[in-house]
C-alpha cells in the first residue's frame, strides 16, 4: 500500500480546485477604493426568522460600504401576544434600555453616518415563516410596537420576501390579500414603504426557496438597502422612488453581468494541465542507469548517507555506549586500564572470548531485532522510497529499475561497508562490523523500495490522468453569457501569461514531477493550485482588469452585450407576478464601480429603458448590475 491516507475524491477535488481558483481570482480582483458611506443610522430587523442569513446580506452590503457595514445593527424580532422583543447579534434578548443604548451609539458615530436626523428601519419578513392571514396581520402591525422600542424618529420599510412556492402559496396569497385590503381601506401603510420580492417572477417562472432564502441567491435585497441609504448627491431622486406614499407596494427587476473569474481561472488551469502533460511525456521511457540510481540514493564509495542516518536514529540509540567495555573481564589487573585501546581481536583474546559473546548479544542481536523485524525493514523501505520520489522525476521510475542495475547498486552499497576493521579499536570495529551485517540484512527493504517506487510512479501517473480527464470534463461547463464573449480574449491572455511564467522560471525544478507520497490526487491538485496562485499573483495587474476594460480590450460590441445580458427579457425578471400589467419602471439604476467611461458607454447603449438611468457606485469592478424599480398599485396584489 503506497498511500498513507484515503485518496481524495478526484471529481470532488477538481470541482474544489476550480472553485478555489475562481475565488482566488475574485479575491485578487483588486481593492475597492471608493467605498460608500451610509446616510442614516440603520437597523435591519428580521421578523420571525431569517437572521441566520444576515452574514450573506452583510457581505453584500459590505461590498459598497466596506467596514461601515458593520455599524448597521441587526435584530431578530419576536412576538409574544402583542408584545414585541428583540434579540441581538449574539442571540441574547435585549431590554428596552439596551436597545436605546445601541441606537444612541449609532447616533454618536458622526464619522460613519452622514445624516443623523432619523433612523432607517428595514423590516425583513419572509413569508416562509407565515402560516395564515392572521399571523401575517400580527407581524405587519407589530411595526407600531417595534418603533416604540427604538424611541426615535424613524423611517420604516417592510421588505416582504414572498415565498410563492406550492407549499407556501396559500399563505402568500393571504399576505397579498391582506396588503391589498389594508391599502384600499387606509390608502396608506403602517410603513413608509413596502417592497415585495417574490419567488415567482413576472414571467411566471418560480423557484422553491428554503426558509430565509427567498432573496439569498442575488444581491437585490442588499441593493435595495444600499440604494435607500447611501450618501451622495444622487441620493435624493433615487430615494424618492423607493419611499413616498401613493403606491401600494414597490418591487424590482434585477439583472447583472459578472466578470467570469471562474472561467478565466479555468483557462489558466487548462494551460497548466497542458504544460504538465507535455513535461511528463518527455521523460517517459527513460529509466534510470546505475550511476543515476547511485546518485539518487546518494551512495558514495565509502558511505551510504541514508543508511547512516537510519543507523543513527534506529540502531545506535539501542546499542551500549563505549563505557560498557570497561567492565569486561580481563586476565590481569594491568589490562583493566588498556581495554579502550585494544582492537576487536585483542580485546577478545584478553577477555577469553567474552567480548565476542558480548558483541553478539548486545550489538548484533539488537540490530537483528530492528532490521529483521518488520518495522525496521518497513521504515527503511519508506525512507528509500521517499528519497527516490524526491530525487527522481517520477516518469523515469515508471519502467522500474532493471534487475542487474538493482543488484549492482546494492553491491556498491555493501562495498561501502566492507572495510578492514582489524586495526580499529574494539568499539569502532564493532560499529563497522555491525553496519556491514545490517546493510546486508536490508536488501529486501531495498528491493521493495525500488518496486514500490515503480508502482507508486505508475499510480501517480494514473492519478494525474484521472485528474486531467476530470478537469477536461468540468471545464467545458458554464461557457455561456459573458464568458463566451470573453473566452477568446482571456484565452490569449492566459496563454501569454503562462508562457511568460515558464520563461521566467526556466531552469527551476518542476515540483510536479517529484512525488511527495501520500494522497496523490490531493498532491497533484495542491501543486496545480500553487502554480495557479503564483501565475495569478505575478500577473495581478492584468488579471484584475475590470469587467468594462476587459470588454473593451476584447473589442466586444458593448451595446449588444448589455442588451443581451442586462436588458433583454428584464420585464420577465420582475420579482413579482400579477395578472395585471406592470407600470413603466420608475427608475433604472446601474450599479458598478465609478467609471465615467462606462457611464458614457452605457448612456449610448440602446439597452436603456428609461430616459435617464441612474448610476450608483457599488465599488465592484467585476460586476455590473441593473435594477428596475416598479411602483405598483394595489390592483396588482
Amino acid at each position: 500500500m503506497i498511500r498513507s491516507s484515503e485518496p481524495a475524491d478526484v471529481s470532488e477535488g477538481v470541482r474544489k480546485l476550480i472553485a478555489k481558483a475562481g475565488e482566488f481570482m475574485q479575491e485578487k480582483q483588486g481593492v475597492v477604493t471608493d467605498y460608500g458611506t451610509p446616510c442614516h443610522p440603520s437597523c435591519i430587523v428580521y421578523m420571525g426568522g431569517g437572521a441566520e442569513q444576515h452574514g450573506v446580506l452583510q457581505k453584500d452590503i459590505g461590498h459598497v460600504w466596506g467596514g461601515n457595514a458593520e455599524y448597521i445593527r441587526f435584530y431578530q424580532m419576536e412576538l409574544s401576544g402583542e408584545d414585541v422583543s428583540l434579540r441581538g447579534a449574539d442571540g441574547a434578548a435585549l431590554s428596552e434600555e439596551e436597545i436605546h443604548a445601541e441606537t444612541d451609539e449609532m447616533f454618536s458615530q458622526t464619522d460613519i453616518f452622514s445624516s443623523m436626523n432619523r433612523l432607517n428601519l428595514f423590516f425583513i419578513l419572509d413569508t416562509s415563516y407565515i402560516e395564515n392571514a392572521e399571523s401575517f396581520e400580527i407581524w405587519y402591525k407589530s411595526v407600531v410596537a417595534a418603533k416604540r422600542l427604538f424611541a426615535t424618529v424613524s423611517r420604516t420599510a417592510l421588505i416582504l420576501l414572498l415565498n410563492e412556492s406550492i407549499n407556501q402559496r396559500s399563505a402568500a396569497k393571504s399576505c397579498r390579500q391582506f396588503l391589498k385590503k389594508y391599502w384600499e381601506e387606509n390608502n396608506k401603510h403602517l410603513y413608509d414603504s413596502v417592497f415585495i420580492l417574490s419567488s415567482r417572477l413576472s414571467s411566471g417562472a418560480s423557484f422553491t426557496p428554503k426558509p430565509g432564502e427567498v432573496c439569498r441567491d442575488h444581491n437585490l435585497l442588499a441593493d435595495i438597502i444600499l440604494l435607500a441609504n447611501t450618501s451622495g448627491p444622487e441620493l435624493q431622486p433615487r430615494v424618492g422612488t423607493l419611499y413616498g406614499g401613493g403606491v401600494a407596494f414597490i418591487t424590482a427587476a434585477y439583472s447583472s453581468m459578472q466578470k467570469p473569474t471562474e472561467g478565466i481561472a479555468k483557462l489558466i488551469l487548462s494551460r497548466i494541465f497542458e504544460y504538465l502533460e507535455e513535461e511528463k511525456e518527455k521523460l517517459k521511457n527513460t529509466s534510470l542507469g546505475e550511476e543515476e540510481l547511485l546518485s539518487a540514493l546518494e551512495v558514495s564509495p565509502t558511505k551510504f548517507g541514508i543508511f547512516e542516518d537510519f543507523y543513527k536514529s534506529a540502531i545506535a540509540p539501542a546499542l551500549p555506549d563505549g563505557d560498557c567495555l570497561n567492565y569486561l573481564p580481563v586476565q590481569s589487573a594491568a589490562a583493566l586500564s588498556k581495554i579502550q585501546g585494544m582492537s576487536f581481536d585483542e580485546l577478545n583474546r584478553e577477555t577469553l572470548g567474552s567480548w565476542e559473546n558480548f558483541y553478539h548479544e548486545n550489538f548484533l542481536q539488537v540490530s537483528k531485532e530492528i532490521f529483521e523485524g518488520g518495522d525496521g525493514q518497513e521504515a527503511f523501505k519508506n525512507r528509500l522510497k521517499k528519497q527516490l520520489f524526491g530525487k527522481v522525476k517520477y516518469p523515469r521510475l515508471m519502467d522500474g529499475i532493471k534487475d542487474k542495475i538493482c543488484e549492482d547498486v546494492f553491491k556498491n552499497i555493501c562495498r561501502a561497508y566492507q572495510q578492514n576493521s582489524g586495526s580499529a579499536k574494539a568499539l569502532r570495529s564493532a560499529g563497522i562490523r555491525l553496519r556491514e551485517k545490517a546493510v546486508s540484512a536490508l536488501k529486501p527493504a531495498y528491493k521493495s523500495a525500488l518496486e514500490e517506487a515503480r508502482s507508486g510512479a505508475q499510480e501517480y501517473e494514473s492519478c494525474f490522468e484521472s485528474v486531467y480527464g476530470e478537469f477536461a470534463k468540468v471545464k467545458s461547463v458554464g461557457k455561456a453569457g459573458v464568458f463566451q464573449a470573453l473566452e477568446a480574449y482571456y484565452s490569449k491572455i492566459a496563454d501569454n501569461l503562462f508562457r511568460a511564467y515558464i520563461f521566467e522560471n526556466a531552469g527551476q525544478e518542476n515540483r510536479f514531477l517529484y512525488i511527495k507520497s501520500g494522497d496523490f490526487a490531493q498532491e497533484i491538485l495542491d501543486y496545480i493550485f500553487s502554480l495557479f496562485k503564483e501565475i495569478v499573483e505575478a500577473n495581478r495587474s492584468i488579471l484584475s482588469q475590470s469587467l468594462y476594460n476587459g470588454l473593451r480590450a476584447a473589442n466586444i460590441n458593448a451595446g449588444e452585450l448589455i442588451e443581451n445580458e442586462l436588458v433583454s427579457g428584464i420585464r420577465d425578471k420582475i420579482r413579482f407576478s400579477s395578472n395585471f400589467a406592470f407600470p413603466d419602471p420608475a427608475a433604472q439604476i446601474y450599479m458598478f464601480s465609478s467609471n465615467a467611461a462606462l457611464v458614457e458607454w452605457l448612456n449610448k447603449s440602446r439597452g436603456n429603458i428609461v430616459a435617464s438611468p441612474d448610476y450608483f457606485s457599488s465599488g465592484r469592478q467585476d460586476l455590473i448590475e441593473m435594477i428596475l424599480i416598479y411602483r405598483c398599485d394595489a390592483n396588482l396584489l
Binding site: P329, S354, N362
Partner: protein, 215 residues
C-alpha cells in the same frame, strides 16, 4: 519398521527414577520391568519430557526410522534434547545404572519393547516418577583488588568454579552496577582468576545451576 506408543501396564513400566553417586560422577537408577530396552531422554533442566508432549513421539520415531537412533547409540534429537536406547543386557551389566555427567539437566526413562523391526514405547503416568531434574552448582568468588604499595588498584577479581566440559558460553553472566549490560561468561573463563573494573554480580541463565558464593 513400526514405532508405537502404548500406556504402561503391570508388565511393562519404568518407575522411581533417581540419581546416585557413582565413582567420580553420578548415575541414573530406576526400577523397570518387561522391557527389552530402556529409552533414556535427556533435556534441559526443568524441561517437560512427557512422551505425550507434542512433538517428542515424532522426534523419537523419526530418529529411529532414519537409523540415527539405535540401541547403544547416543543421539541428539533437537536442541538440548538427546536420547540413548539402552539394551536390557547393558542395564544388567551396569548394575541397573546409567552414568551421567555432573550437569544441570532433566532425564526421563521409558520402557521399550523391541521385537524384530518394531518398537513399542510404554508411556508412563505421573505416578511412575519416570522423570527427574538434576541441578548443579557453580561456586563464585569475588574479591576486591588489594591496594598496592606504590599504586592504588581499583577493581575486583572473579573466579567461577564449574566444569567447563558441560558448560556452554553465555549460560553464566554478570552485571555491574555502573552498566545496564550483561557480560557473558565463556567456558574459557571458568576456573580462572579474572579482573573486572567494578564489582560483578553473577547470574545463571540456566535455572538448574545454582550460583553459590564461595567467599
Amino acid at each position: 519398521m513400526t514405532v508405537k506408543f502404548r500406556s504402561v501396564d503391570d508388565n511393562h513400566y519404568v518407575m522411581n527414577v533417581s540419581v546416585s553417586e557413582s565413582g567420580p560422577g553420578q548415575a541414573l537408577k530406576w526400577e523397570g520391568r518387561g522391557a527389552s530396552h530402556f529409552a533414556i531422554i535427556k533435556g534441559r533442566y526443568g524441561q517437560n519430557l512427557d512422551l505425550a508432549e507434542e512433538g517428542l513421539q515424532e522426534k523419537i520415531a523419526g530418529a529411529l526410522e532414519s537409523g540415527k537412533f539405535a540401541p547403544g547409540k547416543q543421539v541428539k534429537l533437537d536442541g538440548a534434547l538427546g536420547a540413548y536406547l539402552m539394551p536390557y543386557a547393558e542395564y544388567i551389566q551396569k548394575n541397573a545404572k546409567y552414568d551421567i555427567p555432573t550437569q544441570s539437566s532433566s532425564y526421563a526413562v521409558f520402557s521399550c519393547s523391541h521385537v524384530g523391526d518394531d518398537y513399542v514405547f510404554f508411556v508412563p503416568n505421573r505416578a511412575c516418577n519416570y522423570q527427574i531434574n538434576i541441578s548443579a552448582a557453580a561456586d563464585v568468588r569475588v574479591s576486591p583488588l588489594k591496594t598496592g604499595f606504590f599504586k592504588k588498584l581499583s577493581g575486583y577479581t572473579i573466579e567461577i568454579a564449574f566444569d567447563e566440559k558441560v558448560y556452554s558460553d553465555g549460560v553464566f553472566y554478570y552485571t555491574v552496577s555502573r552498566s545496564a549490560c550483561k557480560y557473558p561468561v565463556t567456558a574459557a573463563m571458568l576456573n580462572k582468576k579474572l579482573y573486572v573494573a567494578a564489582e560483578p554480580k553473577v547470574f545463571s541463565a540456566d535455572s538448574g545451576i545454582e550460583i553459590r558464593s564461595a567467599n
